[in-house]
């Protein structure tokens, strides 16, 4: 990605930004987030199929913000995260430069948020293909099978909260799990407490999840917790015909309503 390196270098050299958030290759060959502040080090930036992490999570991180104005290598999920963060007032459009990356890995010219919005609107915003089949298959299970499946999966959870920490939308400085008056979520990592945590997390992301799948990827014990939020993303679209992260003005599905919202279960 020489074009990316050139652009990053340029931004740093002319002091448009103080840090470029991108990817570099770690010692084991894994792509990982990189924070380039020195134009000379822009060479280490990479972009290829290994670069999957949603970098938007760093846009709300204090120590990263302290460096100064940020440029960020942004695939579609990152761009949608940025839109969400702006709409939820965690980020100001003026404070970042978006180095957009197209689906086929090309550097996009994202001059401003309007352009980004245009790009997002043109894109397929439904859940990634690789998860769609999984969700369809899973939905075919009986309620009992589903219950058992999640019990088994969630018994593995160690409450390390990597799912939360990796999620760009989980930017709260105090999470509900940290509230103990009342103790909404049990502190211990037993199956029941884990289930309550994952329900809470999914509900808090209903209408806000931008389907990047980071939560599932980050989980060290391999719980497919992204299916929960992705299922709700499907349902948000199903009921309300919206996808999260399409404009900086959007407000989330659970904080708005239409008088004619349809449901079939309230008697």
């Amino acid at each position: 990605m020489t074009s990316l390196i050139i652009r990053a270098k340029e931004l740093l050299e002319n002091k448009t930004v103080q840090v470029v958030i991108g990817y570099e290759a770690g010692p084991t060959g894994v792509a990982r987030p990189a924070f380039i502040t020195d134009p000379a080090k822009a060479e280490s930036l990479i972009y290829d199929e290994r670069c999957v992490q949603n970098l938007a999570v760093y846009l709300t991180k204090r120590e990263v913000k302290n460096i100064g104005k940020m440029a960020i290598v942004a695939t579609l999920p990152v761009m949608r995260s940025i839109m969400m963060l702006i709409s939820e007032q965690q980020l100001f459009a003026d404070n970042i430069v978006v180095l957009g990356i197209s689906a086929d890995g090309k550097l996009l010219d994202i001059a401003d948020n309007k352009v980004m919005q245009g790009y997002i609107e043109k894109s397929d915003l439904s859940n990634p293909e690789k998860y769609k089949g999984l969700l369809t298959e899973f939905n075919k299970l009986s309620p009992e099978e589903k219950f058992l499946y999640w019990q088994k999966e969630l018994s593995k959870c160690i409450k390390c909260y990597a799912c939360r920490q990796a999620c760009p939308m989980c930017y709260c400085t105090r999470c509900t799990v940290e509230v103990n008056q009342p103790q909404w979520i049990p502190v211990k990592a037993n199956t029941h407490g884990n289930m309550e945590w994952h329900i809470l997390r999914a509900m808090h992301l209903a209408g806000r999840c931008i389907s990047c799948g980071e939560c599932g990827r980050a989980c060290p014990v391999g719980i497919p917790c992204h299916l929960l939020t992705m299922h709700l993303t499907d349902q948000v679209y199903n009921y309300f015909k919206v996808y999260a992260g399409t404009s900086e003005k959007m407000s989330s599905v659970l904080s708005t309503y239409e008088p004619n919202d349809k449901e079939s279960f309230i008697i």
Binding site: Q89, Y171, C172, R174, V179, P182, T256
Partner: protein, 667 residues
């Protein structure tokens, strides 16, 4: 350590017939922190209340649970009793043993057990209650009335007469509104101008009223008792203090072909004009859109002829900042222009006019000096058709609602026509006659019986011109649904009353809700018809829905009383059951992360932003803050808040959680 007192009421036998009150009192008495538990025949009686008060003192109770009827019935009674015994009233809760237990279940152990569960739940809740103090909000005792029609005038005068200051804002150059356009008024046929103009003058001269005409609301911030309003005084291009209102400029203005709004486009006016002779204030304004000087850069004839040199072409718009305690919205209505109904030919044929145009025509000061004449050729129409419900009560194509005033003014129009053109024939096509009101139906009967207006029950399908006549095709449903065709000289359409253009914009500025038709929404359709959902903002007149003059005036007086009641206190007292956003010491300030999604769930715009600055004055954190003057305590924001940074006093997270736990577990 909590010391809870529990008082089980028998309610005569209403509760004790099915619930074993003794067992309930005994079981509850064994709970942790329950210092006193007793039963009594009538807790709400004087001795019952005394029992509670004495127990509070004797047992040093820190909380009270009265287990009796529904809290919706007696919560105020028992809270007051607690307060009288020195216990904060918000430390008293009620357990509903009557409506929710004894009256709806059979006498058995399960029912008694349920009663125990209900009481225990309230015991656990009340332990977490906190002593709350009523909220006090200062009140700025100046009202603002938006709109200078009859409703606004009435509201302003009523408020001013209670001794409070009023600011009246009117968008057009004169107050008076639609009423000043009317010829005569139903059902008395007295002259509209004659009864209205004294009121207009009174407004202008009232020491408590400040009038701003040609002015609009720019923005409204703040809350009940404490609104901060910006208004834009549009430049009139003249110095009102110097102008004597002689009117010389208006006669000399070379631009004379501007459709006159006041005459509903049936007359012309110059670019510098006074809307109508009785205007208040009687000072001209320059219509910048049509003035030759503003368009072409030269003319200035008015400046030349003005004897007092009052013309100011370079006058800018002025922004005024006002501190307001209450707002009365009286922006009125408009009528639906009938050209959306092509089959009635409005706009296509000159001799088809709407009701307001007919008013002007019938008015002695109108474009025809009160004579009924066809706009096309000035002939007196011999045969005239009035079509009621032109576009109203028609969910398919027009407007679904009934505009309420059309039946009456159509009868009045027909009557006025007959009074002026004795030999003429007047026909009225109607769906139903809705003439509810004092002397209203008698008025309609008079039109039919004394003035021989031909009322035809049926709708008109189409109106078209043929050989200079208007062919009105309709149906008479009272004559076996026979098609009727009337060859008319003129047709008057009673079109629907609709919300004013700009109503939506104003509603958003005021943060009041509005309905699908853009009429402002009342807080409750029956019991709060004058209030809006935003505390401190009231409605008067047809901006809420189409109204006739008496209704508009009554509502205006109603809203004036609401304002006066509000202004009768120096401080506003409110129940403290409101939401709060938590606060901590720096550097945390609050656990609120400032996503402000709560703002969009709040129906009352009660959620504001609070910025915390460091010593250098730099904003380090922005968090939500509940305006307790506006919050009504619904708690929707509380359930939405992801970081649980908002809580609702009286129904706190801790309390409701404790209730769930207590309801389902043994203690």
């Amino acid at each position: 350590m909590a010391r809870i007192g529990v008082f089980i009421c028998h309610c005569g036998e209403n509760i004790s017939a099915t619930v074993d009150c003794g067992k309930v009192a005994e079981t509850i008495g064994k709970l942790k922190h329950v210092a006193y538990s007793t039963e009594y025949k009538y807790m709400c009686s004087d001795p019952g209340q005394t029992l509670i008060k004495d127990a509070i003192k004797e047992h040093k109770l820190t909380g009270v649970v009265v287990s009796a009827c529904s809290p919706r019935m007696h919560e105020p009674t028992f809270r007051k009793a607690c307060a009288e015994a020195g216990l904060n009233p918000f430390l008293c809760e009620m357990a509903n043993l009557r409506e929710h237990c004894s009256w709806v279940h059979e006498k058995n152990e399960l029912t008694t057990q349920k009663a125990i569960d209900i009481v225990r739940t309230q015991v656990e809740k009340v332990k977490l209650n906190s002593a709350l103090q009523p909220i006090k909000v200062p009140v700025t005792k100046t009202a603002m009335v938006i709109g200078g029609g009859i409703a606004g005038i009435q509201a302003a005068l009523d408020i001013a007469n209670t001794g409070h200051k009023v600011v009246m804002i009117e968008r057009s150059p004169s107050i008076g509104g639609h009423m000043s356009q009317l010829s005569e008024t139903f059902p008395t046929l007295d002259c509209s101008q004659c009864i209205l103009t004294p009121r207009m003058v009174e407004v202008a001269q009232h020491p408590n009223i400040t009038l701003y005409t040609y002015a609009e609301v720019e923005s409204v911030e703040g809350f009940i008792g404490n609104f901060k309003v910006k208004i834009r005084k549009k430049a009139k291009s003249l110095d009102e203090k110097i102008c004597t209102g002689c009117g010389l400029c208006t006669t000399k203005c070379p631009q004379k072909k501007i459709p006159n709004e006041f005459e509903q486009g049936m007359g012309m006016r110059p670019a510098i004009y006074v809307p109508f002779p009785q205007a208040v204030p009687n000072r001209p304004v320059i219509d910048k859109e049509h003035c030759t000087y503003y368009i072409k850069g030269k003319c200035k004839i008015c400046e030349v002829v003005c004897p007092t040199k009052a013309i100011r072409f370079d006058q800018p718009d002025e922004i005024l900042d006002l501190e307001i305690g209450a707002i009365v919205v009286a922006t009125g209505f408009d009528i639906k222009h009938a050209d959306f109904f092509p089959e009635y030919g409005y706009g296509k044929y000159k001799d088809i006019i709407d009701g307001l145009q007919f008013e002007r025509m019938a008015s002695a000061s109108g474009p025809t000096s009160g004579e009924i004449r066809r706009p096309s050729d000035g002939q007196v129409p011999k045969n005239i058709v009035f079509i009621a419900c032109a576009g109203s009560r028609d969910p398919a194509k027009g407007i679904a609602y009934c505009s309420k005033i059309c039946c009456m003014y159509t009868a009045k129009h027909a009557m006025l026509y007959k009074h002026k053109v004795h030999e003429g024939r007047a026909h009225v096509f109607y769906m139903d006659i809705r003439s509810g009101g004092k002397n209203y139906d008698e008025f309609v009967r008079r039109a039919i019986e004394e003035d021989h207006v031909n009322y035809i029950r049926g709708r008109v399908s189409t109106v078209f011109e043929r050989d200079g006549k208007l062919i009105v095709k309709g149906v008479d449903t009272l004559l076996g649904a026979q098609p009727v065709e009337i060859v008319a000289d003129m047709v008057v359409l009673a079109t629907a009353g609709v919300a004013n253009a700009g109503a939506e914009d104003l509603a958003q500025k005021l943060h009041v809700s509005y309905d699908q038709h853009k009429f402002f929404a009342e807080a409750h359709p029956k019991l709060k018809p004058v209030e809006t959902n935003t505390a401190g903002i009231f409605l008067a007149g047809a901006c809420q829905n189409p109204k006739d003059i008496p209704d508009a005036v009554s509502q205006a007086s109603g809203s004036a009383v609401k304002v006066a009641a509000l202004f009768s206190q120096d401080m506003l007292t409110r129940e403290p059951l409101v939401a709060v956003v938590n606060r901590y010491a720096p550097p945390m300030y609050s656990t609120c992360v400032g996503c402000f999604l709560c703002q969009s769930v709040c129906p009352y715009q009660a959620i504001e932003r609070e910025e915390f600055k460091n010593r250098e004055g730099k904003v380090v954190k922005t968090v939500a803050k509940i305006n307790e003057g506006l919050c009504q305590g619904c708690g929707t924001c509380v359930a939405l808040c992801r970081s649980k940074s908002i809580d609702l006093l009286g129904y706190s997270n801790n309390q409701v959680h404790a209730e769930v736990m207590a309801l389902l577990n043994e203690y």
